[in-house]
């Protein structure tokens, strides 16, 4: 049976792991390579690294970090943040990333999804979508959640699937950092309307939230950051709980 995936996310700023609430108030959460190793030992199924500074001068720092991570860990990992074109992707994949995630640049230029899928394969193209509830609808936001777009979330995700995205990383900004649970209805609605896997993100605070996002939310994978970084829910405890509830986990 295909296992549900637990994915710690490491937000990277200037080579360090940071975590904020609702995309703001960033707090240092440690050395990303050390954290990554710890998560692999604890049984994380994949890792996601999001470079949230992504200024040009810091790109090389990121590439160096990706090489170190790739040399060290033996599970798949995704790198995102500030990816603008196929050359950025080529550099990250050559450094050893298994997948890349794109967000704002895909909204600005949807052809980027087709190009990346064609050149590198859909399996490495993760479309990250930051979404919030506005005027009774879920809209896509860009620029780290600072800017609303005209795109409604399900329509954009379906378009991205048709263009060749391999997975969707769906972050509900309304839930992110609250620790009050994931966006269950939204995630279920997306997951039921597309063929590709959905990684749900934003709002994890308890073990029960993970159970709910896999059952009610129909997510294929669940991503969280602070509850793992600060040791609130150890991954082995979480996996044991979910297995006891009848879910398949590695």
């Amino acid at each position: 049976m295909l296992a549900k995936r637990i994915i710690p996310c490491l937000d990277i700023k200037d080579g360090q792991t940071v975590k904020g609430i609702n995309f703001e108030n960033l707090k240092n959460a440690g050395n990303p390579l050390e954290l990554a190793k710890k998560y692999v030992e604890e049984g994380a199924d994949e890792l996601v690294f999001l470079d949230i500074t992504a200024t040009i001068e810091n790109r090389n720092t990121l590439i160096d970090l990706v090489k170190k991570i790739a040399a060290t860990i033996n599970i798949p990992f995704t790198v995102g943040g500030g990816i603008k074109n196929a050359d950025d992707v080529a550099r990250l994949l050559e450094a050893g990333a298994d997948k890349i995630s794109i967000n704002s640049s895909a909204v600005q230029n949807p052809d980027l999804i087709d190009n990346l899928a064609l050149r590198f394969g859909s399996q490495c193209v993760v479309l990250a979508v930051d979404t919030n509830f506005y005027d009774n609808q879920w809209f896509v936001y860009v620029k780290g959640g600072r800017e609303i777009t005209k795109l409604t979330t399900l329509d954009w995700i379906k378009e991205a699937e048709n263009r060749g995205a391999g997975e969707i990383l769906l972050t509900s900004m309304a839930n992110d950092g609250t620790k009050k649970g994931f966006a269950y209805e939204l995630t279920a609605n997306i997951s039921e309307n597309i063929q590709i896997p959905v990684i749900a993100s934003g709002g994890a605070g308890t073990k029960e939230h993970f159970l709910d996002i896999f059952t009610k939310g129909k997510a294929d994978a669940a991503l969280a950051a602070s509850i793992f970084h600060f040791g609130e829910i150890p991954i082995p405890t979480l996996k044991k709980y979910l297995k006891e509830k009848g879910l398949v986990l590695r």
Partner: protein, 196 residues
């Protein structure tokens, strides 16, 4: 021991190089027939699209060379699929080392395609899988699968039972990614390097 990773226009070679380093082997990447001929073992990795990959192999004459390799060969993911006879992915005639077909997963309610993530393998007694527990989890990412055959040495059931790993003479292959399958994958790579 000289390990050569077959270089062609498909992804994940870097991941394989790193994984081999973790089990203590510095591999080289090459598509030169002379280098391949002197290799003790060859790894044929790959993620990507079948017809594009076959075109590249043909352009380098590797389609003639690969079936004649006499050293142990390990195909991974697309590398395994290309060892078959034919792939439905863009109607591609493959290398034909295994008399098997590669098909697209049918769309079935409740199953996502591509098949991405950790799934378990039902294993049979084979040197490549020595020391691996039955039903161990390995990491997959693929939309096409190789049908089961007499050469199947491990099976995964997703939508239908398919070949997770195969062997015929000196040719071994896995549909999953041992280079990304944590300790289980490292053990399989170790077996290929040290037990075969």
């Amino acid at each position: 021991m000289k390990i050569v990773i077959l270089k062609y226009n498909a992804g994940n070679t870097q991941s394989v190089i790193f994984a081999l380093q973790r089990v203590g082997i510095d591999a080289i990447l090459s598509d030169e027939p002379e280098i391949l001929a002197t290799a003790d073992k060859i790894i044929f990795p790959g993620v990507g699209e079948a017809s594009t990959a076959m075109q590249y192999l043909k352009s380098k004459n590797l389609d003639k060379l690969i079936p004649n390799f006499s050293q142990p060969v390990l195909g991974i993911c697309l590398g395994m699929q290309l060892l078959g006879e034919y792939s439905e992915e863009n109607n591609t005639k493959a290398l034909g080392i295994f008399p098997t077909k590669v098909k697209k997963f049918p769309l079935v309610e409740g199953f996502k395609v591509p098949h991405i993530g950790w799934n378990n393998i039902e294993i049979s007694d084979n040197i490549l899988l020595k020391g691996i527990e039955n039903q161990a989890f390995v990491y997959y990412v693929h939309s096409y699968y190789m049908e089961k055959s007499e050469f199947t040495i491990a099976t995964t059931d997703y939508i239908l039972p398919f070949s997770a790993a195969i062997q015929k003479n000196n040719f071994f292959a896995t549909q999953f990614h041992p280079e990304k399958s944590a300790d289980v994958g490292e053990k399989i790579l170790y077996n290929f390097l040290n037990e075969i």
